[in-house]
């Protein structure tokens, strides 16, 4: 029985397709704005996330999936309480670094300048866990589990149908999203 046949016999017969179609289309942009954060903070985090994962020829960047709101919400609800302070500190430090280096806010910089600021910030020594790691982790999580991240930057196959243990990898092949 091939995959299509298996699907027809089981999932469709059981109404699984209907379940699929009825799923709420939740996006982070649709969530309420997090308390205690200004629109400017959120926009700055979105810009930082979009600098880490920019739009490329085949897929949008992290800015396209409201990554600032994701980072704040996830840090608030999922990470230990002190993560919020870490996040605030990182935002302030990154903006201060861009003013020091280019005499302008992070938002006003070119893409190349933003990359320079973040590269230098990530390389700077910090006592304890580097605050940039939190931003990077949350950016990657939010982006690669988003629909564009999973389906365009990676390969997403919700129903593989079978397992192939020996597949020749072409140089252009992306990782599986799951």
């Amino acid at each position: 029985m091939n995959r299509r046949e298996a699907l027809r016999q089981t999932a469709l017969a059981a109404g699984a397709a209907a379940l699929w179609a009825s799923l709420p289309a939740r996006t982070w942009a649709a969530l309420a704005a997090p308390a205690g954060w200004s629109a400017t903070d959120e926009a700055l985090l979105t810009l930082i996330g979009d600098t880490i994962i920019p739009a490329t020829a085949t897929s949008p960047g992290a800015g396209a999936v409201a990554i600032g709101r994701f980072i704040i919400t996830q840090a608030t609800e999922f990470y230990p309480p002190q993560s919020i302070d870490t996040l605030r500190r990182a935002v302030l430090e990154i903006d201060a670094a861009s003013r020091q280096r280019f005499n302008q806010s992070f938002a006003a910089l070119s893409v190349a300048e933003r990359e320079q600021v973040l590269t230098a910030y990530e390389a700077a020594r910090q006592s304890g866990t580097h605050p940039f790691r939190l931003i990077k982790e949350l950016t990657l999580l939010g982006y690669f589990t988003s629909e564009p991240g999973a389906t365009q930057a990676l390969r997403y196959d919700p129903i593989p149908g079978s397992f192939n243990g020996s597949l020749k990898l072409a140089p252009t092949d992306r990782s599986w999203a799951l």
Partner: protein, 571 residues
């Protein structure tokens, strides 16, 4: 005390058989009893979960979860025990007991992972299924800590019986330490796993690397299609419930089969408080049930009672089933009820990286892994510890998560981390623990749950044998990964509490001798023959195998015996 004849509505409350619990072993008892013609009542303390209809997250995408399938801090804080389970997350939390709703007392730390719903933990099990070997049944007697009243040969046909119906994938490996069963085609190994298999088996004769065996339909047979179950789609989202019915659960397989006979009555929200003992007959007459919602008490009656409430809850239920004849709990004439509880030692794991194989990849998500049957102390005592361990392992390439620790930003960084990263390999142990009399559960003398039932006290811990066995696994694992040519080998002792293995067994152990055991060779209480215990509580020892397949085989075998005894007029 029974009040059978005078209970209002006694007729409607009387069945041929009662099965307490609808999980993996209760489902089997129900199916076999119903198919043999018995009107059977299945009592489940949790809510109903209908196959497919009640798997709300089964087909969700990562972006459909508000926390992207991470568990929010508030849920973690409220569930300090459940959240330790690897399978507990935003997509599956609805199938796990919430810690604050079902408290218990930890005399010594024990992580008790539970699933209270129709289907029990059969919805959220790891689905790895291996037969025990004769060495596992003979081990306790050889090593002087117990005695199984059955042999491998006696159970083998019942393994076949449950395997054919459930659908077990695996290779015919021809190993005495892990007997073959009735198999559907096995899953494949990937290229690095094949490489590891060759290196390990070349360097260490007697250590067999085989593909894991699991309860997934890799090629559904007519009996599976008749159950309306389909082929495994290699999604590996099993803990959400499978809309294809591709893995075995009570919900997808045994309960529908029982229902199809027209003789099944399934009653959710039914907390069984105790089994009733009738002094006139010397038998159990029925059960006392507290409605989980209304908290109203009711009684149900039957000639045969199967206790399949899950290992520790079956212990609790028998301990709480006191009467003039059994003041210390049903069948407990010697104070051994609740004792000799054992589990699996999961503390050790190793991980490493494997260089090369850069143009090799895989597709699909395999719901099992490689394994190595126990090779320690198999034919005789060889080490400074008793018994042995099974090893699980597998290899895979890093995905986008490789970017979490990699420096860089921008298009080149994005490009790099969206391509398959280096290969990693891991190993973990599943060690046998020796049942000790002091490892026990008992009833709390002062604390009760929301239904007025005494809370369970767990007093279960590791001992020196477990520490030695762990050290041996870590040393053998290191040498095997070195033989594979792996680099950056890291060995780890998680120090996890007993219980988190979710393989707790014993407390109502089987044995020939009624002075040293609770159950006879047919899983009947020595002292109350119409009560059968066929869940993890019945286990005399733990073996190194995942235990569910053995619970299923024991349940089916005991049910058939119960029917035969009823027909002979012995029950």
């Amino acid at each position: 005390m029974t009040n059978h004849p005078t209970t209002p509505g006694a007729r409607e409350h009387t069945f041929d058989a009662i099965v307490i619990g609808s999980g993996i072993s209760g489902g089997w008892a129900a199916k076999e009893l119903c198919e043999a013609g018995l009107r059977t009542l299945v009592l489940e303390r949790g809510r109903d979960v209908k196959h497919r209809d009640d798997y709300p997250t089964a087909l969700k995408n990562p972006w459909d979860f508000s926390h992207r399938n991470k568990t929010p801090r508030a849920v973690v804080t409220a569930n300090p025990i459940a959240k330790k389970c690897y399978a507990f997350d935003e997509a599956t939390a609805h199938f796990f007991v919430k810690d604050d709703e079902h408290p218990y007392v930890q005399d010594r730390p024990f992580d008790w992972i539970r699933g209270y719903q129709v289907g029990g933990k059969s919805l959220i099990w790891a689905r790895q299924t291996q037969r025990w070997s004769r060495f596992d049944f003979e081990g306790p007697a050889r090593d002087g800590f117990g005695e199984w009243p059955i042999t491998y040969d006696e159970l083998a046909p019942w393994y076949s019986h449950v395997e054919r119906f459930a659908g077990i994938s695996g290779n015919y490996d021809g190993l005495e330490t892990l007997p073959d069963g009735e198999f559907l085609p096995a899953w494949e190994m990937n290229d690095v796993e094949k490489h590891a298999q060759g290196k390990i088996m070349g360097a260490f004769p007697g250590r067999h690397v085989i593909q894991g065996r699991c309860a997934h339909l890799t090629a559904p047979q007519p009996q599976h299609l008749a159950q309306n179950r389909g082929q495994c789609q290699a999604r590996n989202l099993c803990y959400r419930g499978c809309p294809f019915g591709a893995y075995f659960s009570s919900n997808s397989a045994t309960l529908p089969a029982a229902a199809a006979t027209g003789r099944l009555t399934l009653r959710p929200h039914s907390v069984v408080e105790s089994i009733l003992h009738d002094p006139a007959t010397g038998r159990a007459s029925g059960v006392r049930v507290i409605d989980a919602v209304t908290k109203q008490a009711t009684e149900f009656f039957a000639r045969v009672i199967f206790a399949n409430a899950s290992c520790l809850n079956t212990n609790l239920l028998l301990l709480n089933s006191t009467s003039a004849r059994f003041p210390a709990g049903l069948g407990n004439d010697h104070g051994l009820l609740g004792r000799y509880v054992a589990f699996h030692n999961y503390r050790g794991s190793l991980s490493a990286s494997v260089e090369g194989f850069e143009d090799s990849y895989y597709s699909g998500r395999r719901p099992t892994q490689l394994m190595m049957p126990n090779f320690r102390n198999v034919r005789k005592q060889e080490t400074d510890f008793q018994r042995g361990y099974m090893v699980f392992f597998g290899a895979s390439r890093a995905g986008w998560q490789q970017g979490n620790h990699a420096p860089g930003v921008g298009a080149a960084f994005k490009d790099r981390i969206t391509r398959p990263g280096p290969w990693g390999i891991y190993m973990m142990m599943q060690g046998e623990t020796v049942p000790r009399k002091e490892n026990h559960v008992r009833l709390s003398s002062d604390r009760k749950d929301a239904w007025g039932i005494p809370q369970l006290v767990t007093s279960i811990g590791y001992d020196d044998n477990d520490e030695k066995l762990l050290r041996d696994f870590l040393a053998r694992g290191q040498e095997m990964l070195e033989a594979v040519g792996a680099k950056k080998i890291t060995a780890r002792d998680s120090k996890q509490n007993p219980g988190l293995d979710i393989h707790e067994m014993g407390g109502v152990r089987m044995g020939h001798d009624s002075k040293t055991s609770l159950l006879n060779r047919w899983n009947q209480l020595h002292a109350c023959a119409n009560v059968f215990v066929t869940d993890g509580a019945c286990m005399t020892s733990t073996g190194t195998q995942n235990p569910s397949l053995t619970f299923m085989a024991l349940a089916a075998r005991a049910a058939q015996h119960a029917v035969a005894e009823l027909k002979k007029g012995n029950l």
